[in-house]
Symmetry: C2
Subunit: 325 residues, 2 copies
Amino acid sequence: MNDRLDPSLALPDLAAIRAAHERIRPHVHRTAVITCAALDAEVGARLWFKCENFQRIGAFKARGASNAVFSLDDDVARRGVVTHSSGNHGAAIAYAARRRGIPAWVVMPEGSARVKQENVRRFGATIRHSGMDAASRAAACAEVERDTGATMIHPFDNASVIAGQGTAAVELCESVPDLDAIVAPVGGGGLLSGTSIAAKGLRRDLLVWGAEPANAGDAAQSFRTGKVEPLPAGVTLTIADGLRTPLAPRTLGAIRAHVDALETCGEDAIVRAMRMTWERAKIVVEASAAVPLACLLEGRYPAAGKRIGVILSGGNVDLERLPWQ
Amino acid sequence: MNDRLDPSLALPDLAAIRAAHERIRPHVHRTAVITCAALDAEVGARLWFKCENFQRIGAFKARGASNAVFSLDDDVARRGVVTHSSGNHGAAIAYAARRRGIPAWVVMPEGSARVKQENVRRFGATIRHSGMDAASRAAACAEVERDTGATMIHPFDNASVIAGQGTAAVELCESVPDLDAIVAPVGGGGLLSGTSIAAKGLRRDLLVWGAEPANAGDAAQSFRTGKVEPLPAGVTLTIADGLRTPLAPRTLGAIRAHVDALETCGEDAIVRAMRMTWERAKIVVEASAAVPLACLLEGRYPAAGKRIGVILSGGNVDLERLPWQ
């Protein structure tokens, strides 16, 4: 770990990501890397997709959650873990807690997607419902911590979680050693932080690009201004529901240090990229996972002719309601 | 080739399938084999899915069509190829003909799925529409043959096509050498014929099971009676639109010789298996490709605890109209 004076800014280094990789190996899949000639032709570059939609619980979040849960000392772990999550991180904590045999509580906003609630319950975690706002979520988590002694594992503002998320990029670089760039989506920034630390740690000249919905374009703005910007006022309307989250100072620090470009795309482009991934590559990805391809299709990066790794973050979709219908 | 006296019954042997494999290697993908712990748990067996939904044109049909097209002598090939197909075989012939630089005509019934028509046009083939009945299709093909000198390549009643389809099973057995059984869907029987010849040629004790929709249960009946039975009278109502085809004497011969069980499943089971593959394995498969899993989920084979290869035949789906909606 890179021990800064302020622990709220501490970040993992490549060694911590490698240690995380060893720690979580029994608990997560080494996911497939696939290619698709039709998508290469659409983008005008060669793409390698790291299929975290095939990951345990259907998203990369299994990596960070497993690393955080298995990093706890036994006497702390025994009292359980708590988190808040609109979905995939909650399922990931539930999954990792069951693997370790400890209790888990997940605070979720009312009205979360059915499939994401089922993903949490499947692993025996207890769901606590809260309001949509950050204060309501934090209060519900604090209540669980107070009542049970459980350890809070934040979805992204946590160095162990970030280290775990970085392991996908390590595997991608092992599978395809000569990439020019890696693209990852950004919500709270855990995945992009871990990806960028891993990528630059492995090869200084490997480009790292972030991709965000314009309708939740706070990270792109924070990247420019250098301070954590809030989400646009009012309800944030993006189909990429995993990315409706502002950065933390910790993740902004990693992203400012290691990311080469952070670009945004519109909702139509996200739906188009999601549908194209289903139709051409024949895999199920959620809207948040399609944001990097959307930015590539929109020409947001200097991608032409390059060899590009794309992290497909997850595949948890409510099949009753598809965005193009 | 196994040269019988009656050429309409000729079948490839394992050597012909291996030769096909070499011939088509530059033109088709060696598709991924994936596993899914959640589906293993549902079936109570270990499953390896051969992902022909990732194949060129989105279906295994690229194998047989490529083998047939690239087996033609130059002076014959030059005049082009013609076939009839409700979809995937047509796209496969169009694809293979473009790879060889020769013209192709595809006779399709009016009202074929949009995505399947686009798949044919994408490769520059000419579509000729016909009625739904076999006589109308055959007449349209004969007209093209007469007018152009093109060679007819039947979707399954063709030894070169069957040899090509068998290459998927060869790859599956290379990837997972210790399978107990392989399951493939059956419509006209080209895939199941090739699969069973390859499997038994590689290992006499490897079980081969066929899977068919009960609503188009002619192959299961033919398997019992030993003669080619017609489709049930009237319109055949199955969502598995790739499997609405009777066997030919040729494919029945292979299936009777090499297949250990041929079972059927209901429409609800097909929809459930298709949806489960999307939700759990996160891959897009068409209804016909879900028929083997449907039969496994329904307990139609002695599968418990076995190691089973499942050929996922294709992934061409109209995403506007999903069967569970």
